[in-house]
Amino acid sequence: MEGLTLSDAEQKYYSDLFSYCDIESTKKVVVNGRVLELFRAAQLPNDVVLQIMELCGATRLGYFGRSQFYIALKLVAVAQSGFPLRVESINTVKDLPLPRFVASKNEQESRHAASYSSDSENQGSYSGVIPPPPGRGQVKKGSISHDTVQPRASADQQEPASPIVSPQQSPPTSPHTWRKHNRHSSGGNSERPLAGPGPFWSPFGEAQSGSSAGDAVWSGHSPPPPQENWVSFADTPPTSSLLTMHPASVQDQTTVRTVASATTANEIRRQSSSYDDPWKITDEQRQYYINQFKTIQPDLNGFIPGSAAKEFFTKSKLPILELSHIWELSDFDKDGALTLDEFCAAFHLVVARKNGYDLPEKLPESLMPKLIDLEDAADVGDQPGEVGYSGSPAEAPPSKSPSMPSLNQTWPELNQSSEDTAIVHPVPIRMTPSKIHMQEMELKRTSSDHTNPTSPLLVKPSDLSEENKINSAVKFASGNTVDGYSSSDSFTSDPEQIGSNVTRQRSHSGTSPDNTAPPPPPPRPQPSHSRSSSLDMNRTFTVTTGQQQAGVVAQPPAVPPRPQPSQASGPVVHRPVDADGLMTHTSTSPQQIPEQPNFADFSQFEVLAASNVNEEQDNEAEKHAEVLPVEKASDPASSLRVAKADSKTEEKAAASVPANVSKGTAPLAPPPKPVRRRLKSEDELRPDVDEHTQKTGVLAAVLASQPSIPRSVGKDKKAIQASIRRNKETNTVLARLNSELQQQLKDVLEERISLEVQLEQLRPFSHL
């Protein structure tokens, strides 16, 4: 037949049953004999039994092989749980309890029972044991023995007759269990609602002799005793009332049964044929609780304040510690007050404790305050249906965990945990950007007023900081870089982020050679550009690189046109002339052309200075000049100038070869000197540099507007004229600049004079 999956307990149980039935040890069991007995003991209608036998294939075979037997047993369990008998249901029905057999009582069975009970928590005995489903295990781990009393996972169909044997077998250590057996033996199914409070009522049941009292006795006595008990509870210690009634039992009860023996516990579990939750509140009990509630708080929808509750429950004479624990369990919403539900739960727990039951670690499901209004008993009645859904043995309620109550139970923790997750501070820096992470970061960043485009950007800095590389090109979204810079400035939420942003910024401006060129700032290979970290330079470089068509990495847009062919030749000329390291700068200087205001400035002068320099040379000179202002901070400025002069001469020499664009640039000679002077002054007037650059920005614009000039000879004249025009314009600009700088020079000199005067004035004092 189909594959049958059995749990461990089932496996064990079935194999034992099989061995039990297999008297002759032939590994196959005949239908007659014990098997039939067994199936009859399952208390299923005959036709069901026949159906089972058919399904498992025994009728086909004529006997029960092991597998058939197992299947049959499983089907018995299925049938007992109330599920329709189908072949598929063997494996589909989950957490089926072990099939129960009210077998004929003999020592063997009882031994089986005992062995099962002592072996594992899962009961496999069939002598009236209600085997808890495997899921029950977790409950057992919880509180001690009495906790296990709670979950009863028996099917609806109980064996009324089963417990007849058990009381005889179990050592009567606990009158509780004994009473329970009696009770069950007497009534079985009928008095189900009383099964829960059975343990509670047992003390009262003990008033009667321990014989199998009839139901009437139980039912008759059950209501009054609670009244008595509760009433007495209110006024006097209930134990005293118990004492009056059952001196024998009280001794057992008053012993704190915190550590009942495992066997006792097992027996309790085993021998109770009721699967009802012992923590369930019966109608009578609930009514009583409600009445008590009313004495304190007339409004049933209202709360009992903590102090009143404290007084009330202190009357029970339980130790404060236990009352405190009961409170913790029952005050579900932790508001310091008890609603009706909470009050009933608390009361119920007190009663249980009084009767010797240990307090659970967690609030039992049946005691959890319902979200719906519980005024009507219908809900209470529904609960058994919930706890043990029709027939199939419910797992331990805690393990069953219907969504709502368990959710309720745990929502305080959930709150805290979610709180924790929400509170997780915005610094989780991960190695790899993940979408979730980015979203998280985004959420956190939104608090600091970042626009969305920047948020992915902010993730990247963190990555950078981790990786410490500048493969950022890959990661950056185009156009975000600028935003990133701005956002990095405004970013305040996380110093780490700032640091990483800064590093990123630096990385851009910086000296390390990029592997790939991000659309915005192109890689800047010159290490000597100390000022290159400024944004100006970035922009400059982005622009200037566009011009360079040879050997430059990126081609940023919006590059002002320059005589590109000449420029193209420029670096070619330069490279062979590479005299010193500066030449490398100059070779790259073509990148930095005219947008650099300073550059344009001096280039013009250089052009003028270098007579007979064609445009290439001019441009080169420009480039040279451009280099210089960039390297203002560099010390060898003078050497630069010298080199510049050298290179210029070399340029002239070299340039004369390739191109024959002649420029009547005799006046270029003097301009270099003023250029140098200007450089010097610039060096001295560092603070004025920016000003200077601003002024010379005009120059740049002027230069930028110059159209590229073709190289053909035929257009030389036009080219010359154009260049002359340009030069004149730059002349005027430079003259203006010159005058301004002179003015600044004067100012500075005046300052110097005043300072010197002050110094002189102070000097006589120094002598004193």
Partner: protein
Amino acid sequence: MENELKFHYMVHTSLDVVDEKISAMGKALVDQRELYLGLLYPTEDYKVYGYVTNSKVKFVMVVDSSNTALRDNEIRSMFRKLHNSYTDVMCNPFYNPGDRIQSRVFDNMVTSMMIQVC
């Protein structure tokens, strides 16, 4: 036993630091963030963190210095959890303020928190 005394002593000395921090903050300490006092002082073996509630109840946490994985945020969240559990304990009418806290729920929470960290 020895360790317990040592920790007791450490906690008591750190109370001085807590008081110092509280007085330094002045009147404007209603903000939740300021309830967390941060690292009070590090010794060679341990770091001590402080947290004070609005009702001047002080939580002091002593952490092993070798536990470098513990971050400030985690300490903060631990204090927050402590605070919540403490208020739950307070809500219990059977609890007298000033008593030793014997709530099982509280103990479980603390234990789980410490296990989480270690």
